[in-house]
C-alpha cells in the first residue's frame, strides 16, 4: 500500500515550498510533519534520517530523500512533468534552475537584518525584471504555445508560476511589461489542481514573518 509522501520541514515556505507546489500541481496528497523545536530536529539527525543533517526531508516510495533539487527532480519525473525526452528535460532543467536561483534570492532576504533585507528584496525584484522574466516572456513569444516546454504542462510551468507570485508579493507591478507572462499566470493558476492549491486552507504556506524566522533560527541555531 503506497503511503502518502510525508514532508518534514518548518511550518513555512523556505526550501520546501517548491516541493509542495509540485506535489499539489500533480494532484498528489501529502502529509506534513512540522519542525517546531530543536529537539525534534536533533532526533531526525540522531536517527540518521538526514543524509547531510539538513531538511527538507521527504519520505516517499520507501526512500528518505533530502536535497531540494533531488526531491523535485524525482517528483517531476515520477509524475510526468519532466518533458518527453532528454532535450526537453534539459530545457526544463535550465528554466527551473534559473527560477530556483531567483526564488533563493528572495528566501534568504527574510533572514537578513532590516536594512540589508530591503536591499536584497530590491535586488531580487530587479533580477526578476531584467534577467529572468524577459527570458521567459521571450520563450513564450517565440513558440506561441501555452506552456514553456513541449506544448505540455511541466515542472517548469509550475515553478515559474510560483516565482511570479513570489515576486508579485514584493512588487505588485512586476509583470507590467510582460503581457505573455500575465496571460501565463492566469492560465496556469486556473489549472484545477493549482487553483485548489491557491485557495485558502490549502497546504500552501504564507510569506515568512518574524515568528517563522525566530523558530528557524532557534532550531538551526544561527
Amino acid at each position: 500500500m503506497a503511503a502518502k509522501p510525508k514532508l518534514h520541514y518548518f511550518r513555512g515556505r523556505g526550501r520546501m515550498e517548491s516541493v509542495r507546489w509540485l506535489l499539489a500541481a500533480a494532484g498528489v496528497e501529502f502529509e506534513e510533519e512540522f519542525l517546531e523545536t530543536r529537539e525534534q530536529y536533533e532526533k531526525l539527525q540522531k536517527d540518521g534520517r538526514l543524509l547531510f543533517g539538513q531538511v527538507p526531508l521527504v519520505e516517499i516510495d520507501g526512500m528518505e530523500l533530502t536535497q531540494t533539487r533531488a526531491i523535485l527532480s524525482y517528483l517531476a519525473a515520477k509524475y510526468n512533468l519532466y518533458g518527453k525526452d532528454l532535450k526537453e528535460r534539459v530545457r526544463i532543467d535550465m528554466y527551473t534552475d534559473g527560477t530556483l536561483d531567483l526564488m533563493m534570492m528572495v528566501a534568504v532576504g527574510a533572514f537578513k537584518p532590516p536594512a540589508e533585507k530591503e536591499e536584497t528584496i530590491a535586488s531580487a525584484v530587479k533580477s526578476a525584471k531584467t534577467r529572468y522574466f524577459p527570458v521567459f516572456e521571450k520563450i513564450l513569444k517565440d513558440h506561441g504555445e501555452d506552456f514553456l516546454v513541449g506544448n505540455k504542462f511541466s515542472w517548469a510551468d509550475i515553478q515559474l508560476l510560483e516565482a511570479i507570485l513570489l515576486v508579485e508579493e514584493l512588487d505588485a507591478s512586476v509583470l507590467s511589461d510582460f503581457p505573455l507572462l500575465k496571460a501565463f499566470k492566469t492560465r496556469i493558476s486556473n489549472i484545477p489542481t493549482i487553483k485548489k492549491f491557491l485557495q485558502p486552507g490549502s497546504q500552501r504556506k504564507p510569506p515568512p514573518d518574524s515568528h517563522y524566522v525566530a523558530v528557524v533560527r532557534e532550531i538551526l541555531q544561527f
Binding site: L86, R89, D93, M94, D101, Y132
Partner: protein
C-alpha cells in the same frame, strides 16, 4: 555533423570544472573558448547566447546550454552515468547536491577578502570532516561496493573524486579518517579516461591563485 562540445568560460576551474571532469570521464573530447576580457563576455551576451547572462555555457548537440546542473544532468544522462532508473537517479541526485554545496564553498573560497579567509577555510574543513565525508564514507560502508550507487560507475563517483582532490589541495589530512573514500579515489583515478585527465597537459585546470583573482578583478572590474 556533430561537432565536439564547446565550453565557454574563464580559463580556470570555477563552475565549469565539474563539467570538464564529467566529459573527460565519459571519454568525450571537447573544445574550450576562454573569456579573457570584458569584450568576450559582452559579445556572448549581446549575441543572446547566454540565457540568463551567465556562464558556464556549453554548445552541445545543437543547443547552447546554461546552468551548471542542467548541463551536467544532460551529459550524465547522455553517457549513461545517471543510474539505471528513477530511484538510482534520486540517490545520485541527493549525493551530488550535497557535494555541490561543499564544492560551492570551495569555489567561492579564493574570492573572499584576506581577513575572512581563515574563517572560511575553517568552515570548509569542519563541514568536510563532520558533514560530507562521513555521509559518503557511510554509503560506501553500507553496501561495500566499488561505486556509490547501483554497483556501477556513475557521475556521483566522478564528482566525489573531483571534490576529494580539491579538498586535499586545501588540506591533505582531511581524508585521513576516511579509508573508503581514499580507496574510491584510487579506484576512480585509475580508470583510463580519468587517469588521462589527471595527467599534465590535460584540460584539467590548476587551483586558482590569488594573482589570478586579482587579474580577473582588474579585467572584469569586480
Amino acid at each position: 555533423m556533430a561537432g565536439k562540445p564547446k565550453l565557454h568560460y574563464f580559463n580556470g576551474r570555477g563552475r565549469m570544472e565539474s563539467i570538464r571532469w564529467l566529459l573527460a570521464a565519459a571519454g568525450v573530447e571537447f573544445e574550450e573558448q576562454f573569456i579573457t576580457c570584458p569584450e568576450d563576455w559582452d559579445k556572448l551576451r549581446n549575441d543572446g547566447r547566454l540565457m540568463f547572462g551567465q556562464v558556464p555555457m556549453v554548445e552541445i548537440d545543437g543547443m547552447e546550454l546554461v546552468q551548471t546542473r542542467a548541463i551536467l544532468n544532460y551529459i550524465a544522462s547522455k553517457h549513461n552515468l545517471y543510474g539505471k532508473d528513477l530511484k538510482e537517479r534520486a540517490l545520485i541526485d541527493m549525493y551530488i547536491e550535497g557535494m555541490a554545496d561543499l564544492n560551492e564553498m570551495i569555489i567561492m573560497f579564493p574570492m573572499h577578502p584576506p581577513g575572512e579567509k581563515d574563517a572560511k577555510l575553517a568552515l570548509i574543513k569542519e563541514k568536510t570532516t563532520n558533514r560530507y565525508f562521513p555521509a559518503f564514507e557511510k554509503v560506501l560502508k553500507s553496501h561495500g561496493q566499488d561505486y556509490l550507487v547501483g554497483n556501477r560507475l556513475s557521475r556521483a563517483d566522478i564528482h566525489l573524486v573531483e571534490l576529494i582532490y580539491h579538498v586535499e589541495e586545501l588540506d591533505p589530512s582531511l581524508t585521513a579518517n576516511f579509508p573508503l573514500l581514499k580507496a574510491l579515489k584510487t579506484r576512480i583515478s585509475n580508470l583510463p579516461n580519468v587517469k588521462k585527465f589527471l595527467q599534465p597537459g590535460s584540460q584539467r585546470k590548476p587551483p586558482v591563485t590569488a594573482e589570478a583573482i586579482e587579474q580577473a578583478r582588474k579585467v572584469f572590474k569586480f
